[in-house]
């Protein structure tokens, strides 16, 4: 969409809040200013936008960095990524940009591809050599391959050899058959020099295929090594193999000569066997080659031969190549390769066996550890050995009981002594748990009516729910020693009650605890406040293991728990808040 001058001015007016006419005026001013600066040979910069400058008759605009980034905001964070493997991926570079592509086109179409093609294979050669060395070392160190893996690897390898050795031969045969035909005799006698030069490039495509990155690389490296040996020997050995193709033709042409040559050549076991066993096969193959001089057929022959070779049908292959001594060497190499493979198999097979043998030892060790752990746990559990966290609490509590009193029974003796003085029998029994206390109070004081007991029963669960309750209940200090608040010594005063001042005699009863505070000042403040309200306030200092000293603010002194509960019902809930009833 094109924003023409009018629209632009309208937008500009909107954005700036300046009137349209003024905007037009400003714009004209701006342009005239620009031109003035152009005439002076200078650029004109609009801050935050960019620089206009005149180059010849043209005006250039160089956007500012801010403008560039703002325009590219949606691509923020995208950075150039280095791509792996250059040469093959060049094709998808569809020319999209008018500016840059011409250059790229020149680069692509021209020299770079060729040079890279020449460069990369060598690099891969070197890399592979290193990889193989590493792989060999790794395998030597680890011996990690299991039997299955090895089998898989060997199978893959066989497939590979089939495919790889077939494919690279195609170019050879396209190039060479005629020359080869001419030079057959030389080839037969093993003068490979001419071909070696032309073949130097051949192992490279093989390795290109091999070097395709994949999970296979890891396991197959060892076999690659063999293949590479083959590849390197291919500089010599391929030359020996190629004549093989030619040889067939030659065999077809001059069987006698070759036969004589075979006889002349070193009479090895293989050769003799092959000749006797598979002359017919040889004839058949010759027929094939005779039917079609196509190299492709021969290509297809080779893999089969190799397959057969792998399956101990060695004679066929060697027979085809038996035309010359060098070919025998090649076959020997192959058999050697086979041997080495089998050796490798056996070698690598050993390692997993060793592992399997070693695994029971681990099992035994684990079992032994488990047994040790179990026995240790049992010993600890039954208290033979004292291990924290395992030995049951019975043992540890015996130790712990020496520590400051936590349990309620301990707090009873001093209280009971006082209570005996006061001749209140029910109290020590009541004290342990509030519910039982209620029941007992009902039993002992038959005067209490049912509704009241219901109330107390309602309240006691509340007490248990109360957050502070367990803390305070645990902290029941022995005796009344902790009471800080002043006590009314006057004999006339009521012993028990909610209001007035606390009496010393009343300290054997119950009280309604409102707060347990960690600061004495806070407790004092509460004391004053509640005293003004007319309550009997008791502040009791309670030692706490966790918090040091705590100050318990409570109101009222009651003969029984039920009294306290009844009294608490009457107190304004605003004052009470979350309260508990406990012994003073």
């Amino acid at each position: 969409m094109l924003i023409d001058n009018e629209k632009f001015i309208a937008l500009l007016a909107d954005n700036s809040g300046i009137e349209k006419e003024k905007v037009e005026k400003y714009l004209e001013e701006l342009i005239s200013e620009m031109k003035a600066s152009f005439d002076e040979g200078e650029g004109y910069e609009v801050e935050g936008f960019g620089i206009f400058s005149k180059l010849g008759s043209n005006i250039l605009f160089i956007p500012s960095d801010e403008l560039e980034t703002e325009i590219n905001y949606k691509y923020v964070g995208m950075e150039p990524i280095e791509l792996p493997g250059g040469a093959q991926q060049q094709e998808p570079e569809a020319p999209e940009d008018e500016d840059e592509n011409p250059i790229q086109g020149i680069l692509d179409g021209g020299k770079t591809e060729e040079t890279e093609e020449y460069e990369d294979p060598f690099a891969e050669l070197f890399n592979e050599a290193e990889e193989h060395e590493k792989a060999i070392q790794e395998q030597a160190e680890k011996g990690d391959l299991s039997e299955e893996e090895i089998e898989a690897v060997v199978e893959e390898e066989i497939e590979r050899e089939d495919t790889e050795e077939v494919i690279p031969e195609e170019p050879e045969q396209e190039e060479e058959p005629e020359e080869a035909l001419e030079d057959t005799l030389k080839d037969i006698f093993g003068s490979d020099e001419s071909e070696e030069e032309s073949e130097e490039a051949e192992p490279e495509p093989e390795q290109k295929e091999e070097s395709a990155p994949g999970p296979e690389n890891w396991g197959i490296d060892a076999h690659k090594e063999e293949e590479q040996e083959g590849a390197f020997s291919g500089l010599l050995g391929d030359a020996e193999e190629e004549p093989e193709l030619i040889d067939e033709d030659d065999i077809f042409a001059t069987e006698d000569e070759i036969a004589s040559e075979e006889n002349v050549s070193e009479p090895e076991d293989e050769v003799s066997q092959e000749e006797t066993v598979s002359e017919e096969e040889n004839d058949e193959e010759i027929d094939f080659s005779a039917l079609g001089d196509d190299d492709s057929e021969q290509d297809f022959d080779d893999p089969f031969d190799e397959l057969i070779e792998e399956e101990d049908f060695v004679p066929v292959v060697t027979n085809v190549s038996s035309g010359k001594a060098s070919k025998k060497e090649a076959s020997e190499e192959k058999t050697e390769e086979d041997d080495s493979k089998t050796e490798k198999k056996s070698r690598t097979l050993k390692s997993p066996r060793d592992r399997k043998q070693s695994s029971p030892v681990f099992l035994y060790m684990i079992l032994a550890l488990i047994l040790l752990g179990g026995t240790g746990y049992l010993l600890a559990y039954f208290g033979v050995v004292n291990i924290e966290g395992i030995t049951p609490s019975s043992a540890s509590t015996q130790i712990a009981q020496n520590s400051p009193p936590v349990t309620q029974p301990e707090s009873t003796p001093p209280q009971t002594s006082e209570e005996e003085e006061q001749t209140v029998k029910e109290v020590p029994e009541v004290e342990t748990s509030s519910e039982s206390a209620v029941i007992e109070t009902e039993e002992n004081n038959g005067s209490y009516s049912n509704p009241e007991s219901e109330i107390t029963e309602e309240e006691t669960p509340r007490n248990q729910e109360n957050d502070i309750a367990p803390l305070v209940a645990d902290e029941k200090a022995p005796g009344d020693g902790g009471i800080i608040s002043p006590v009314n010594i006057q004999a006339e005063a009521e012993v028990y009650g909610l209001n007035g001042t606390a009496t010393e005699a009343g300290n054997n009863g119950y009280t309604i605890v409102l707060y347990t505070l960690s600061r004495k000042s806070g407790a004092d403040a509460q004391f004053e406040k509640l005293s003004k309200e007319g309550f009997r306030v008791i502040i009791k200092e309670k030692p706490s293991q966790e918090f040091g000293a705590l100050y318990r603010v409570s109101i009222g002194q009651f003969e029984s728990l039920a009294d306290a509960a009844v009294a608490a019902e009457k107190v304004d809930s605003g004052i009470l808040g979350n309260y508990i009833i406990t012994k003073i």
Partner: protein
């Protein structure tokens, strides 16, 4: 001509460019948004690099003036 105007001038053009509109200013020229899609580029050292997409602003001077 005020600072506000200049700011608004830049902002307006920028906004339109971001919206892929081209802006024509009489007597000055036309601003145009150019999109460069991501592309591969071969560096001098042979490394193949994928460049991210990019938008750029192009200015074509109004040669009539």
């Amino acid at each position: 001509m005020t600072n506000d105007f200049l700011k608004a001038f830049g902002l307006t053009i920028r906004d339109q460019i971001i919206m892929k509109n081209s802006v024509e200013i009489k007597g000055l020229g036309t601003f145009k948004a150019e999109h460069t899609s991501q592309q591969q580029e071969r560096k001098g050292d042979g490394k193949l690099v994928m460049l991210p997409p990019k938008d750029s602003i192009e200015f074509k001077a109004d040669m009539g003036e």
